[in-house]
């Protein structure tokens, strides 16, 4: 009671202004996406991944035009040259400029990766969505079919289909997506089913909201997170699968180049000591795998609503 003296009578006057503050919400509400973006930005590894992806995309667009060589032009006088001022990444066994081929390969590999992911996404969302929304017998039959196909070893199926088809970019994409869409379909189905049962959708239904509105306002925003993560992780898987196919001689035909064909072509010249030829595609594939994986992981963490603060 020593501090008593410091207090004056007027301090004990009723203060009616206090309630105004109470009605204020203590912190501004942050939307799901901006909140997720905020958390993603904090994740330095994921942002590094994003940066690498953007850089690779830019280089895929402008890279092949940065010098005067084309990806198919052969010059046998200049074969197997190590990196130098003229050929920045050196030349291959047919005297083609590896810098141009590397970024041409980026186009092909990234195109295959993104296309495969996109097609998987479209088929997966349609199949999984229909299965879950229809429910009952339809769902049962559709899921049994998916289950059987899912158990087929992925790469074996891709190889098998590639053997029956002509070599080329689209056959590769087709082979990859023929069973590749299933994980996406299962994911979408699971998400939609969970949401269908969820209280907020039930509440929206009970309040007489239309299905389309619910789809737009609730289903899509809420299923999109895991789907986006899945897409992000499908791209590197496809690029990787393409590399394996190239290695088996089932990749894009010459003179086209993908990172996979560049790497498998280079394997032949390793024993001759031309290690640099493998180095470039190996680094590019690894960088891409790294970038998409860490970005996908970061995205998963950022979009996880349980982590919202």
């Amino acid at each position: 009671m020593e501090r008593e003296t410091a207090f004056k009578k007027e301090m004990f006057v009723r203060d009616e202004t206090n309630r105004q503050e109470a009605e204020k919400i203590s912190r501004p509400s942050v939307s799901y996406w901006s909140d997720a973006w905020g958390r993603l930005k904090e994740n330095r590894l994921a942002m590094t991944g994003l940066l690498i992806i953007v850089l690779l995309l830019i280089m895929a667009i402008i890279g092949p035009h940065l010098n005067e060589y084309s990806y198919y032009e052969q010059d046998f006088a200049k074969k197997n040259l190590p990196p130098n001022a003229e050929h920045w990444f050196g030349t291959d066994a047919a005297g083609r400029d590896l810098f141009t081929r590397a970024w041409h390969g980026a186009r092909i590999s990234l195109f295959i990766g993104f296309m495969a992911a996109l097609i998987d996404f479209v088929i997966g969302v349609l199949y999984g969505g229909i299965s879950a929304l229809r429910g009952g017998r339809t769902d049962h039959v559709m899921m049994r079919i998916a289950e059987i196909l899912y158990a087929i070893p992925y790469m074996l199926m891709v190889i098998l289909i590639m053997i029956a088809m002509k070599r080329g970019i689209w056959p590769i994409i087709v082979a990859m997506t023929i069973t590749g869409w299933i994980p996406m379909a299962r994911l979408v189905r699971g998400q939609v089913l969970q949401l269908k049962e969820s209280e907020f959708v039930q509440a929206a239904l009970a309040m007489g909201a239309k299905m389309g509105w619910i789809l737009r306002k609730h289903m899509i925003p809420n299923t999109f997170g895991p789907i986006l993560v899945n897409i992000t992780l499908t791209v590197p898987t496809a690029i990787f699968a393409e590399a394996t196919l190239s290695f088996l001689g089932l990749g894009v035909p010459a003179p086209q180049a993908s990172w996979g064909t560049l790497a498998s072509d280079a394997l032949g010249s390793i024993l001759v000591g031309n290690f640099y030829q493998l180095f470039v595609p190996a680094i590019l594939i690894s960088l891409t795998m790294f970038a998409f994986n860490v970005f996908g992981d970061g995205l998963r963490d950022a979009l996880d609503p349980r982590l919202r603060k």
Binding site: R144, L149, P153, L156, M157, I163, A282
Partner: protein, 329 residues
């Protein structure tokens, strides 16, 4: 299998659980057979879809000889009959002769190559699982400290670097330049080290990452707090409560990891010149030896589908929470 859903608890369902577990196993087995049938059918269709006559390539064969060959391989019969015969021969585990080397059957190839591939595969799998688990646990326990970063660097390298790149780098440095281990072939145990590492890196990294996140999640569970509130030592909590639960998601991906391991083995065996099934498979793709390609595809598929079946069923027995309902999964 949705782990988050709360299983029911009444007595009745409990006894029902064991019966439906058998039912589930049986059902699962039927699905595995169905999958295998789809693959066999696809291989048959592909065999038929491949343009050209398998015997035309040889060229210069007299027409009568070609006809005899067609009759010998039943190619003169209607396709549905051929399909039936194909199914029958596969059921009898007979994949027919190689198209390139008629005197050798696909079965011969498998008998010769499979034991080697199995050795390499198992060794890589054991290496991947044991080190993957250790790295994952250590990373989770030292979250955001240097052991975590070190493990995750290894894991990131593992998922980022394709096996053929890793294999080539290992050969170039460890074998050729530093001369520490043999370059290639399959003779002594020291020959197996580099291929094992090349093959194991990817699943190892995958397991490490999965185990890390699984451990982190488990360590946040209430029952870990309960264990701590009992006064148990940190080491007891980690071993008896955390790892036991965290390992379950890892079990579920073993099937898919083994599948990846098989795909990886094609390349690794080829690069290291290991006379296993994978190398044979790659060579047959290069040679367009269709009967070998299709035969080994069926063989690989059968093994992998059976393995996934085992993993799925084993999981329902390992995790006491999983009570299979009538629905199946």
């Amino acid at each position: 299998m949705d782990l988050s859903s709360e299983p029911s608890s009444s007595e009745k369902k409990q006894t029902l659980g064991v019966i439906s577990m058998w039912k589930y196993t049986f059902k699962r087995f039927l699905w595995a057979i169905a999958t295998l049938w789809v693959i066999i059918t696809v291989t048959f269709i592909i065999m038929k879809a491949i343009p050209g006559d398998p015997f035309a390539k040889d060229g210069g064969l007299p027409e009568t000889v070609q006809k005899n060959l067609h009759r010998h391989y039943n190619l003169d019969k209607p396709e549905i009959v051929q399909y039936g015969l194909y199914l029958k021969s596969i059921l009898q585990f007979d994949f027919g002769p190689s198209m390139k080397h008629r005197s050798i059957t696909v079965n011969d190839y498998i008998k010769k190559g499979f034991p080697i591939s199995l050795h390499l595969g198992l060794q890589a799998l054991i290496f991947a699982i044991s080190f993957g688990l250790i790295l994952g646990v250590v990373a989770a326990l030292y979250r955001n400290k240097w052991p975590d970063y070190a493990s995750m660097v290894i894991a990131i390298i593992g998922v980022s670097v394709p096996s053929f790149v890793l294999a080539t780098f290992l050969i170039n440095y460890v074998a050729v330049q530093w001369n520490l281990l043999p370059v290639a072939t399959w003779q002594s145990w020291s020959h197996t080290i580099l291929p094992t590492i090349s093959l194991a890196m990817m699943p190892l990294a995958y397991i490490a990452r999965l185990m890390r996140s699984s451990m982190l999640e488990v360590m946040n569970q209430d029952y870990i707090l309960t264990a701590k509130a009992k006064g148990l030592k940190q080491s007891t909590i980690i071993i008896k409560h955390a790892i036991r639960n965290a390992i379950l998601p890892v079990v579920t991906v073993l099937g898919i990891l083994t599948t990846n391991l098989v795909t990886g083995s094609f390349i690794v065996e080829y690069i290291f010149g290991i006379p296993g099934m994978g190398e044979m498979f790659v060579t047959s793709i290069f040679n367009r030896d269709y009967s070998v390609i299709l035969g080994s595809t069926v063989f690989y598929s059968a093994i992998l589908i059976f393995l996934i079946f085992i993993v799925d069923v084993a999981y329902t027995w390992i995790d006491p929470r999983i009570k299979i309902t009538e629905e199946g999964s």
